[in-house]
């Protein structure tokens, strides 16, 4: 998947734990783990908005596009 989720990097920068972030944005820790490990197939705008609000960042700080190496 060429879309990389840099949520853990942003969380480390903001010094926030997974449990704390999950509680702040109102999703289950299991779903947050799916997002952090890059297993997610899609992310809702509403979830992205809550993450950006909680981490005080832009969507581009969380998601990154890296083309597959052929």
């Amino acid at each position: 998947m060429p879309i990389i989720v840099n949520l853990d990097v942003m969380m480390a920068k903001r010094k926030i734990s997974s449990g704390e972030l999950a509680e702040k944005i109102g999703i289950s820790p299991a779903n947050l783990s799916i997002l952090k490990t890059g297993k997610a197939k899609a992310i809702r705008f509403s979830t992205m908005e809550k993450i950006c609000k909680a981490l005080d960042c832009q969507p581009g700080d969380i998601l990154e596009y890296k083309p597959d190496q052929e």
Binding site: A40, K41, A42, I43, T47
Partner: protein, 150 residues
């Protein structure tokens, strides 16, 4: 009150009933075929009963596998596992069992032409199950996407 649980139980009982019928057909094949040849209007010879027995025994293998797969599928649906890759695989096996049965009936045409109708019916059923399998496979993909949407 009728419910989906009761519906599944009815389906399971039906499959078990057909399993019983299949077992009875296999056990009673020598008598059934002899009786059929004796009373048939098609002018069959007594020796031809052996061919009918062969068709019944060979055809019983895909039929038994189909019924077993159906029972397994119903057990999975009962536990709430509906749109899964395992169920798609089971439907694929059920479909191929129908085609195998159609194949057996087609081969049996050499001694009794009416097997053609059985072959067409089995192949048609296999086709329907195959289309259902394709639909369920798409549903599995959609479910996976929904499950992994955060």
């Amino acid at each position: 009150m009728w419910s989906s649980e009761k519906s599944i139980i009815l389906s399971k009982l039906s499959v078990l009933f057909f399993m019983g019928l299949l077992l009875a057909a296999v056990v009673m094949a020598p008598w059934l075929t002899r009786w059929f040849v004796d009373f048939s209007q098609a002018g069959l010879k007594v020796e031809e009963a052996v061919y009918f027995m062969g068709t019944i025994y060979v055809g019983a293998v895909p039929a038994a596998y189909l019924l077993y797969s159906l029972l397994k599928l119903l057990a999975r649906i009962e536990t709430g596992q509906v749109f899964t890759a395992e169920n798609v695989e089971l439907l694929r096996r059920i479909s191929w069992s129908c085609f195998a049965g159609a194949g057996v009936a087609l081969i049996s045409l050499f001694y009794y032409y009416p097997w053609f109708f059985m072959a067409v019916a089995a192949a048609f059923m296999g086709l329907i199950v195959r289309v259902v399998k394709n639909v369920v496979a798409q549903a599995v993909e959609l479910k996976n996407e929904a499950d992994y949407t955060v």
